[in-house]
Every structure is written in C-alpha cells, then in structure tokens.
C-alpha cells in the first residue's frame, strides 16, 4: 500500500482550558476530526458545547491567555499548526484557511469601503502567494480580484459595489461579501461559524446553496458550525455532534441522521419540530448543558441521559467506530442496523 496522504485537516485530541474568574473551565476535552478536500462538515451542538472555540482554534484565534491548550494537534496537510510561530500562522490565515463569522452585521469594518476590505485581504494573501494577483500593480490587481469575487458570490454590478459601505448592504448581501472575503485568498479550508443564523429563512437557503456551490467548485474542505440539524441535513456531507467539549458522534450525514446512535444526537433531532410533527409530541431533553467549571466525571451527558448507568458516570467512553465512517462515544449506543 502506498503511504497515505495526510487529510486536509486533522484535529487530534484537542484540549482547551479557559481561565475564568471562578477557576479553569475545561472547554474542549479531546476533540478529534478528519476533514478531506471536498467534504462539508457540520459541527453541531447547543450553545456552550465548544463548537465555536473548536472552529477558532484551527486558525489559532482564541486569545491565550485566558485560553490554554494542554494537549492536542491541529494538522493542515500534515503540518502541525499548534507548533507554528505566530508569524507563520498569520501567513496561513486567509490564504490557506478562510473564515466566516456568525453575524454579517458586525463582521465588516464599518469605517472602510467593501472594495478596500476585500483588496486588503487579497494583498495580505498575495504577500505569501504572489501568483494570486497576477501581473501589474498589486493594488489594481487586488481590486480587480475583489470585483471578480463579488461577482462570483452573486452581487450584481460588482465593480460599482466596490465603493459601497457595509451599512448600505442588507444582511444577506453582507454575508455574501464575507464569503467573498473568506475565499479571495483561495484557501483550501473554509470555516463558517453559524453563517446563516442571523438571516431570514429564505436568505438562509440562498447563502447555504451559495456556500455549497463555492465549496464544490473549488474543492474546499469546509466546517460549518451550526446549532441546527436542519442546516446540517440541508448542506453538509458529514456531521460531528459536540456536547460539552467533545465530539460524541460523527460520520456521514446520511448515516448519522438516519441512524443516530448517541442519545444526545437523537434528542437533538427529536427536539426540533419537523413539518409533520404532531402537536404535543416533541420530545424535549430535560436539563441544561453542564457547568464546565464543575463538569461531571465520566460521560458529560450522563446527568441528562435516559439510559445512563453507574459505569457511564465513572469513565468517559471513547469514540468507537460503528462502520461506514460512523463513530459514537457512548457506552450504550443505539446499535445502527447496517445491512
């Protein structure tokens, strides 16, 4: 067998401790993820489960202190990002790793024109990748590229829009600009943190479709952070379900959504009303996400789990493969019937 190519992104056993006023909180406890080019991963869970911090950890944007990484690796094409100097890391941001934040209303600098913001990102990326802009004066080339990108994300009369201010755009348009900004450096990996939560429903669908299309065209690997199983179902090829700092279930979307094995995954899916959920039949998970300052030992989901046993409270179950790329961290999973 030839040596395996390293995956685009591999996160191994990532731990993150956050210093708070009331002591250290163990925010991430052993996150593991492998993402190949062309895959769209949904990272799903409720607020406070560590999805955003996982996403921010890849381009190393979590401020340290208060954060601290006791263990773990984040490898991009085999290169461990945690070991890089800040300088080298900066060269990767925007150029190899693109990022889209949750709220398009606040993610653009209000005091700079759209075109200048796009061009600045292109110029920064071109410092490390001169081929990006092509010949000619850099500033002009950067603006031309900015116009091309705006056009690609579906903004009409892109050239004129370069001189617009962010506040002149609607929420959906701004998110399109942010997608253009994230992709202008031609990254291989795109991380999008709740890119549609702040938008109206029809616009959400458009933006998701746009992101899917761009990812497919460029062969991007993508992490889509979301709290909505519906978004995962609509847009992702793979899903990783997070609970209280670690991944409890992972696999292809079709596998996980059709045969959820972890009680939390099942609960998350059962808690969202679908088009045909009869009134009064929604199954709500009792309780709330545990306080990470005093997280229970063993399985962190045990206090809310209908089938927890003393063994669950004693030791944390590792992620175990179930076949077909599906894995679950649970001592008593629903055995998915593979045929």
């Amino acid at each position: 067998m030839p040596p395996l190519m390293p995956p685009l992104l591999e996160i191994r056993d990532l731990h993150l401790t956050m210093a708070t006023r009331d002591g250290p909180a163990q925010v991430l406890t052993g996150v593991a993820l492998r993402i190949a080019r062309g895959e769209i991963w949904g990272l799903v869970g409720e607020s406070g489960c560590g999805k955003t911090l996982t996403g921010l950890s890849v381009p190393r944007l979590v401020p340290c202190p208060p954060a601290h990484y006791p263990a773990g690796e984040v490898r991009l094409d085999g290169e461990d990002l945690m070991a890089l100097s800040e300088r080298r890391m900066r060269a990767l941001r925007g150029r190899r790793i693109g990022m889209i934040l949750q709220d398009p209303a606040t993610s653009l600098n209000p005091t700079m024109r759209i075109g200048d913001q796009l061009a600045d990102v292109a110029l920064a990326a071109a410092r490390h990748d001169p081929a990006l802009l092509g010949p000619g004066p850099a500033r002009t080339a950067a603006r031309a590229l900015a116009a091309t990108m705006l056009d690609r994300v579906g903004i009409a009369s892109a050239r004129q829009r370069l001189s617009a201010w962010p506040h002149e755009f609607s929420g959906g348009m701004r998110q399109r600009v942010l997608i253009a900004m994230a992709l202008i450096g031609a990254p291989d990996l795109l991380i999008a943190d709740e890119p549609t939560s702040a938008l109206d429903v029809p616009v959400q669908a458009q933006i998701l479709a746009l992101m899917q299309g761009m990812a497919a065209d460029r062969g991007l690997g993508m992490i889509l952070i979301t709290h909505s199983m519906g978004v995962v179902a609509r847009a992702c090829s793979h899903v990783a379900v997070m609970y209280a700092g670690s991944i409890v279930e992972t696999g292809p979307v079709v596998e996980v959504l059709d045969r959820p094995a972890h009680p939390y995954t099942r609960a998350l899916m059962a808690a969202v009303p679908g088009r045909h959920t009869p009134r009064g039949t929604l199954r709500a998970l009792p309780g709330t996400v545990p306080d990470l300052l005093a997280a229970p030992p063993g399985c962190r989901f045990a206090p809310r789990c209908p089938r927890a046993t003393p063994a669950c409270r004693a030791a944390r179950p590792p992620l175990r493969p179930l076949g077909a790329g599906h894995a679950v961290a649970c001592a008593h999973p629903d055995a998915p019937a593979h045929g």
Binding site: R90, I97, N109
Partner: protein, 335 residues
C-alpha cells in the same frame, strides 16, 4: 451636509441669546456693588451716579438686557467698568493667548493620548497597561495649579531651564500681530529667535494644562479600543490574515478614534473655560486672567463677554467634532 451646517449655524442665535440671559440673570440679580468697586472708596455720591448712568447700570435689568442683545447683533459686547474699553476689543487682545495655550495643550494631549491609549489597550491588563492606568488616574487628580507650581519650582527655579511665566521675555518685542498667536506670528515673520523664546514660555503652562486631557483621552481611547477589539470585524480581519499594523490602524484605530472624538471636543471646551488657574500661575495674559480681574471687581460685562466667546468656541469645536465624526464613520448622517 450643507443643510446640517446651516441648521446648526441657525441654532447659534437662540443659543447666544439664551446664554446671555443666563449670565444676565446671574450677574444682575445677585447683590453686589460693581459701581462702588469701580469708582473707588473715595468717590462721591454724584460721581458714582454718573458712572452708573454712563454704563447704563441705573436702568432696569430687562432694559439693560434688551440693549445688550441689540448690541450683540452688531458685535458689541458692552463696555468694561474696569478697563473702560469695549469688551470686544479687550477680548480680541486676550483671546489669542488663551487659544494658543489651549491649542498647544490639546495638540500635546491628542498626539500622546491617542497612540498611548491604543498601545495600552493592546497590552490590556499587563503591567505597562496597569501602570499607565494608575498614572492616568493620577494625572487627572493633580490640581492643575499645583502642577503648575511644581513645574515652575523644578524647571524654572531650580534647574532654570525654562522661564517662570509670561508669554515672552520682557525685553523681547512681540512679532508683528497677524493671528495674535505669538508662536505663529513669530514663525510667519521668520523671527526664529522670538519663536524659540515663545515656545520656551509656552512649554510649562501647556504641559500643566495638557496633563489631564491627555490622561482622559488616553483612557477613553483605551476603553473604546478594547471595545472595538472585541468586535467581530477585528476577529474577522485577524482570521483573514491581515497584517497586524493594518488591523491596528485601519480597523481598531479608526473605529476607536470616533468614540474618543467626543471626549476631545468636551475637553477642548472645558479647557477654554478652565485656563484661569493656569494663567494665574504663569501670568499668562489670556482670557482667564482678564475674566478673573473682572470678576474680582464685579465688572459683569467682560464676564458675560468671556462666557459668550468661550461658549461660541465650544459650540464651534463640537460642530467640528461632529463633522470629523462623519469623515471617520460613514454611517453618520447629517440630518
């Protein structure tokens, strides 16, 4: 934009009339004997009556007020009992010195306060920042006149590096008057020796005056820079690999300055009305000294005039701040 400016200028009229009314009420309704003070202890009853009549102080207050407002429209600020000059002329003499002092102090405060505020925000909660915060609170807490005395003591009396007070050495002829600001006039005249002397005289009072606005600007800049740094667009800029210098200046700096502008405007106005103490300490021939002398002799016309002029400049500065706001932040609309 033009309409905005026009409307703000139109508002000036009522503001001036209102301001005059307030000062008149205070100046005229309180007990006091300005005529007696001006005429001197040995004046006869007839002399005092003549003086009162000459300055219109024998007429009812509302009548005095109306004629004052009428004069205001012509740029007439009344006449001083003390100097017997028209107040407008007196102010034209004393205002430039105060302006020079305040401008120098504000320039110093802004030039140091903005970058230092940005830097301490970057070093948030590390020792340079904490030290900076304590020093800034300390700087706001020093009485300006005590600071002035200390500066005189150390730099003028013990070290003898800088002059004790005044605007120019007694023997130096002031440069030909163009703007009234001695430093500027000297530079315009190409008289470098005088310019040097003027700057040496300006240094200590400007420093004494600059310290507390410097600290206030630093603190405001730090606070708003910290607020800006927590914004998504800063995280986004970092996530997209923008160079640090660009993030610092274009993203954080620009957005933080717009909040700090308000403080700058407020302090400018506040300094204009608050140079009195520093001018007293340094014998600086400015509006503050003029006003103090007038106040001590209960000579109200100069006081009202000074209040009006400083109020007017205050309004102008704040208008400028509003306009600068719009230059920095495109979301601001002039309506």
């Amino acid at each position: 934009m033009l309409r905005f400016l026009l409307r703000r200028l139109l508002m000036l009229g009522p503001v001036l009339v209102g301001l005059t009314a307030i000062m008149f009420v205070i100046a005229r309704l309180l007990p006091g004997d300005p005529v007696g003070l001006a005429a001197g202890p040995n004046a006869t009853q007839a002399e005092r009556a003549a003086l009162a009549q000459e300055f219109g102080l024998d007429r009812p207050v509302w009548d005095q007020y109306l004629s004052y407002v009428a004069g205001l429209a012509r740029g007439d600020l009344g006449r001083s009992l003390m100097t017997r000059h028209p107040v407008a002329e007196d102010i034209a003499i004393y205002l430039p010195a105060t302006l020079e002092l305040v401008l120098a102090a504000m320039a110093l405060a802004i030039a140091l306060g903005l970058p230092l505020g940005l830097l301490t925000a970057l070093w948030q909660n590390r020792w340079p920042d904490r030290l900076g915060q304590v020093l800034a609170i300390g700087a706001i807490s020093v009485p300006r006149f005590f600071l002035g005395l200390l500066l005189q003591l150390v730099f003028a009396m013990w070290l003898m590096w800088l002059p004790l007070g005044g605007q120019l050495p007694v023997v130096t002829l002031p440069p030909p008057r163009v703007t009234g600001l001695v430093t500027l006039d000297a530079a315009l005249a190409g008289d470098w020796a005088t310019l040097g002397a003027a700057c040496r005289h300006l240094a200590l009072p400007a420093l004494a005056l600059a310290l507390s606005p410097l600290a206030a600007i630093l603190r405001m800049m730090r606070a708003s820079a910290i607020e800006v740094m927590a914004q998504d667009y800063v995280t986004a800029a970092r996530a997209l690999g923008l160079p640090r210098r660009k993030i610092l200046i274009k993203t954080i700096g620009r957005n933080a300055v717009s909040a700090t502008l308000t403080v700058i405007g407020l302090y400018f106005g506040w300094l204009l009305g608050g140079t009195v103490l520093v001018e007293t300490v340094f014998d600086w021939p400015g509006l503050g000294l003029y006003a103090t002398r007038a106040i001590l002799s209960q000579d109200m016309m100069p006081v009202i005039g000074v209040a009006l002029v400083t109020g007017l400049i205050f309004i102008a500065v704040n208008l400028a701040v509003d306009l600068a706001y719009g230059l920095i932040d495109p979301r601001v609309r002039y309506e």
